[in-house]
Amino acid sequence: MVQESALHVEQPTGDFVTLNIGPSHPAMHGTLRVIVQTDGETVVKAEPEIGYLHRGVEKLGENLTYHQFIPITDRMNYCSAIASNVAYEMAVEKLMGIEVPEKAQLVRTIMAELARIADHIVLVGILGVDLGAFTPFFYLFIQREEIYDIFEWHHGARLTNTFGRIGGVEADLNEDFEQRWRHLLPNLKKAIDETDKLLTHNRIWMDRTIGVSAFSAEDALNYGFTGPCLRACGVKRDLRKDEPYMMYDRFDFEVPVGKHGDVFDRYMIRMVEMEQSIKIIEQAYKLYKEMPPDAPLKAKVPKVIKPPEGEIYRATESPNGELGFWIRSDGSDKPYRIKIRPPCYMIYQAFHDLVQGEMVADLIACVSSLNIIAGELDR
């Protein structure tokens, strides 16, 4: 028997079984570990253990220049890397007081919303797979491949796109973006619609997701939840509406809010958010086409970035919630301290309260619906 140092789980007291849902497990998203104490099939205590994907991103940030840190932000939330890139670049721009030109903001918005759609596709698909519904995964992931094609033709990488630069974007939208987007749009809508028809009013899906790990709004706010998990609990909070950044205050879109905070609400919110993202991309692309072709894509930024001494915090609404960067600069070309506020960090620490009293199969559904991405959690 491996003698682990004392974890915060009581020794099995006769009736309870201690179960290890280990870091390498097909239903755990990435390298997550949960030590569960069960009474039969019901969870008595669930202790998450993280740190299996800790790469010392914050320590690396202290030894790399501001530009060199952008690829590292890709690898945090690898399902929607562009959102992390844009969040970091906006934080450095706030630190330096740089104003990003409008065309660059529109390109960033279009790409970030595509990344949001891609992230939600992952969640809905994998939630289905974890509960046994394989088909929506295939329908949705074909569209995700098309989104990857758009990314690849823009800047060369499918998953870990080092998108954007401090002050703007590095290249304009590719000339065949129009054609790809026109091809993708109806197929994406059809895939979302088919998934909706397959799952939302499906008896088995509703039985497995309604009421599972319901969470109240006060608990969610106490735990620091943000993003779709908080909106599922009934709190209408979206940084794109409450603290608008880029050009979100010019776009017309809705923010879906759930009621019970259970798995079904989290799934429905993401389905609606995908449709709203499509709406935003349409509006942004229309504005983009009205811009003159020689509008600047990047603000005037010195080659070696040496921000003034000081510290700022900047948060954006990533697909998972509030992704924030706190950067302190000491006047040199390397940051003094970068602190990343990952959205799923605050959500995962409430895991015990989320699954206590549920069955082990519901625990898997809950983990899947929270969209815990280990890269972002551990950094």
Partner: protein
């Protein structure tokens, strides 16, 4: 609402310094009174800073070393030695990022934590959102939080001997390995 003025009114004598830069307001409070200050900010009827966004530590060692070194140019030996012997400000800082859900205002609250007595009252009694960030601050810096229900290492393994995000810990690590004991 002028956030800086309102925070100064709310905290009164607990304010050590208040700063506003690039749109961010930050206030420093004494270490021993941090829970009082946070509770005042949370319960204030106008500010309502009732959401804890983040909590983390900062190590100022390299900053003070750089400042001491930059004074060396153009000073003689005695002044250099005096500058190195001079008492430095406390090494660590703990920073709380608060948010008001009603007015969408953000505030940074910071406290300074000395190296020889790195103890801070835990904010878990006010917000459960502080549970893991405090564990991480302990893991990465060695700052202990009094009253935390489960102060163990979070990202590194439990018997890891050092505190990695400190400035005197090298980027490449010190070659620690994890040995599991099988009995």
């Amino acid at each position: 609402m002028d956030l800086k003025k309102r925070v100064e009114e709310c905290l009164g004598s607990l304010v050590v310094a208040v700063n506003q830069w690039q749109g961010d307001v930050s206030v420093e409070v004494p270490r021993k009174k941090v829970l009082d200050a946070l509770a005042l900010l949370k319960n204030d009827s106008e500010l309502q800073l009732d959401f804890l966004s983040d909590l983390f530590g900062v190590d100022n060692l390299a900053y003070y070393q750089k400042k001491a070194k930059s004074k060396k140019k153009g000073e003689d030996e005695a002044a250099q030695a005096a500058a190195e012997e001079a008492p430095r400000p406390p090494r660590f800082e703990v920073i709380y990022l608060l948010l008001s859900l009603r007015s969408n205002e953000r505030l940074q609250v910071k406290i300074r934590v000395p190296e020889d007595d790195p103890e801070v009252d835990s904010a878990v009694s006010l917000w459960k959102a502080a549970t893991w960030p405090e564990r991480e601050a302990y893991d990465m810096y060695g700052i202990r939080f009094k009253g935390h229900p489960n102060l163990k290492r979070l990202l590194m393994w439990d018997e890891f001997p050092a505190h990695p995000l400190r400035k005197d810990y090298p980027l490449e690590g010190q070659g620690e390995e994890r040995h599991l004991v099988y009995d």
